[in-house]
Subunit: 117 residues, 2 copies
């Protein structure tokens, strides 16, 4: 009755692995939300602080660094006064579109569910 159980890991375990890989890049409480914000528009530091409810400057700064290291976003210093820094999704970052879309749709449905549809 149990003889075929090991094959679950062998055959389909890759899915678990790949999901975990994805979450390794998108770890922490804010990365996915930041990427979601940048899907709307490229934004500057303070724009992101405003758009993302609850995030602090420290966390935003740290998460943006991580996302840049992982090549999901670019950081461009503008020659404005005072200095502005613009964050934008890279082409690679844009490949997260389906993930973000799915999450957003599920989030909307979930909100309906918990607020009593």
């Amino acid at each position: 009755m149990d003889e075929n159980l090991p094959t679950i890991t062998e055959k389909c375990g890759k899915k678990i692995l790949s999901v975990h890989d994805a979450m390794d890049i998108l770890n922490g409480r804010w990365k996915i939300t930041i990427v979601a914000a940048l899907f709307l528009n490229k934004m500057r530091f303070t724009d992101l602080l405003r758009e993302i409810n609850g995030i602090s400057g420290k966390m935003l700064s740290r998460e943006l660094k991580d996302l840049e290291i992982n090549q999901l976003i670019t950081r461009t210093v503008l020659n404005t006064q005072p200095i502005g820094v613009e964050y934008e999704l890279t082409e690679y970052g844009l490949t997260l579109e389906k993930v973000l879309k799915a999450l957003s749709e599920w989030g909307v449905d979930h909100r309906k569910r918990i607020t009593g549809r």
Copy 2:
């Protein structure tokens, strides 16, 4: 030049919010991976420990409780010896299919990218 910036929040901020809502439920490092595992099959505690690389009993136990509270999975005690407990996605848990599919696909591509395509 800045007059239209506030509308970003007003018009599209809901997407950011809904993504953040979704991540509030799927928070922590393991929940999404656990759900991914349960998409393959209903499983028992030790099965999950085996399938999910790196998780500890403590975290698995805790995350399963959270997922059960949020009605994404059910917990069924089997009358086997020694006692077995089976975890299974609820219908609501199954609504995460698109999210998991998107994450899995992105994870596969990402792995190709970092292991040198």
